[in-house]
Amino acid sequence: MFLKEYFGTIYKSVKSLLIGMKVTGYYFTHLKEIQTEEYPDNRATLKMFDRFKGEVVMPHDENNEHRCTGCQACEIACPNGTIKIITKQEILADGKKKKRIDTFVYRLDLCTMCNLCVVACPSDAIVMAQNFEHSVYDKKQLKKILNNPDSKLMAGVE
């Protein structure tokens, strides 16, 4: 009885170990199962998902016009103080004074990509870009100004 139990244990143990070895052996002989993505090599074909939150950008059209009215809704919505909007008074053609953005400061080093600013924006001026290669040698380069120099507010956006 004891011997039966003893050899039963050995049989079961060896069997379970061999089953485990079969799994690894299968993958050793089936190299097409390899999951590795060779990242820097596949850069040309690597496409992130449309919604991937890489960084906040402000799209400009071909006339160098953006949609940001300087309402600061994003600045309020941001939990980390990532966004800072500096406004200026601009005299329009009809002589009226209007608030326009001077600089849209975005600090990538503080950003947690929570998307709250994009959701908060009433005029869809900022969107999330899919770029994810953010590493730089100097921390100062992470402080970005999103509006292009000499850019204007798009007509019709208020």
Binding site: K12, S13, S16, L17, I19, G20, K22, V23, T24, Q35, M48, F49, R51, F52, K53, A77, C78, P79, T112, M113, C114, N115, L116, V119, M128
Partner: protein, 374 residues
């Protein structure tokens, strides 16, 4: 009682102290365990916390009710969806807001996907802690597929911040249903492989069986929740007892085991993965049409009072307690995180075991240190 923090514990004859962590391969982060050893036998353990404290609770007090949710993604980073959901549910409770059915179902699916990927990572890490490196990579293959669902729909893989008060931030991606179905088929096919390489393995069975026993009474008195408590026979699945979101619309079993040892905890999680798959399969074809977010005011203000909501994370019960004084940001926030209570039972589980047992116990209670420290 000896072993309380701050109390001076003397080293007895023949004992010596080892400091496991804060940088140790198997403490899964910056947990520091002070271990009194007699040879290889663990006599006492004193967990030492605070190495990754970021004061998320205090930080939240200066943020608005819309903003404070993002930080909870960093609490239990393997269950960001569930953490976010807990906060959103609490705010909704305060506002007495009815969430659209569509949002509820999507929340449930995403929470279960979160549980699935968290358990898969746990499974891989258990293998890693016990010395087998290979399961880790098999687990990550399926986890990666789930991560792609998150990435496509929420835009992020780990810190999604997708749940907002009133529903979800934006509608799911058009590919969502198809992708989830594909992944479910893939995962169901791999469960057998998981069993072959780990569950049935005689070495793993010997390493886990009879190790780190936690009785039902101890689990109850230490406030242990989640799979760790359910393995001791303590019925504590909030999805069953206090259903939130769409959990009252699905059929699933609460996984209970009476073993109380590491193997029971292992098996509970393995079986829970199958239950999660079943929940997702029930819901994925029945996502109702409609709004994905209820209308909320621009500035959310909770009425004066105290609000508490608890959810079942992959590790146990997460409670969010908000004290509101009627302002636009919470007066006080307290998170009851599952990891903290589960860790408090570690000293009684590990007592008398070997160092190898301690590693196995830590693996099977599935510690996430940022969740413990916040």
């Amino acid at each position: 009682m000896r072993g309380l923090i701050g109390e001076d514990i003397l080293t007895e004859e023949g004992e010596f102290i080892i400091n496991m962590g804060p940088q140790h391969p198997s403490t899964h982060g910056v947990l520091h365990l002070k271990i009194w050893l007699d040879g290889e036998t663990v006599k006492r353990i004193q967990p030492n916390l605070g190495y990754i404290h970021r004061s998320i609770e205090k930080m939240s007090e200066s943020l608005s009710y819309r903003n404070f949710i993002f930080a909870t993604s960093r609490m239990d980073y393997l269950a960001a969806h569930v953490n976010n959901e807990a906060c959103a549910l609490t705010v909704e409770k305060g506002l007495q807001l009815e969430v659209p059915q569509r949002a509820k179902v999507i929340r449930t699916i995403l929470s279960e996907l979160t549980r699935l990927q968290s358990h898969q990572l746990w499974w891989g890490c258990t293998g890693l802690d016990l010395g087998g490196v290979t399961p880790f990579f098999y687990a990550f293959r399926e986890r990666e597929a789930i991560m792609e669902i998150f990435e496509e729909t929420c835009g992020a893989r780990l810190t999604q911040n997708y749940m907002v008060p009133g529903g979800i931030m934006y509608d799911v991606h058009p590919n969502f249903q198809k992708r989830v179905k594909d992944v479910m088929i893939q995962i169901k096919g791999k469960f057998e492989e998981y069993d072959n390489i780990m569950t049935g393995n005689v070495i793993l069975e010997n390493r886990l069986k009879g190790v780190g026993y936690l009785s039902k009474e101890d689990a109850l008195s230490y406030g242990v929740t989640g799979p760790t408590a359910r393995a001791s026979g303590l019925s504590c699945d909030l999805r069953k007892s206090n259903p939130y979101s769409a959990y009252d619309q699905v059929q699933f079993d609460e996984i209970l085991d009476t073993g109380g040892d590491c193997y029971a905890r292992y098996m509970v999680r393995m079986r829970e993965m199958r239950q999660s798959v079943s929940i997702i399969e029930q819901l994925i074809d029945n996502i109702p049409e409609g709004d994905f977010q209820a209308k909320t005011k621009n500035v959310i203000k909770l009425p004066k009072g105290e609000f508490y909501q608890r959810v079942e994370t992959p590790r146990g019960e997460l409670g969010v307690f908000i004290v509101s004084d009627g302002a636009a940001s919470p007066y006080r926030i307290k998170y009851r995180s599952p990891g903290f209570s589960n860790l408090s039972a570690l000293p009684i589980m590990a007592k008398g075991g070997k160092i190898g047992d301690l590693v196995a116990i830590m693996a099977t209670i599935d510690l996430v240190i940022p969740d413990i420290d916040r």
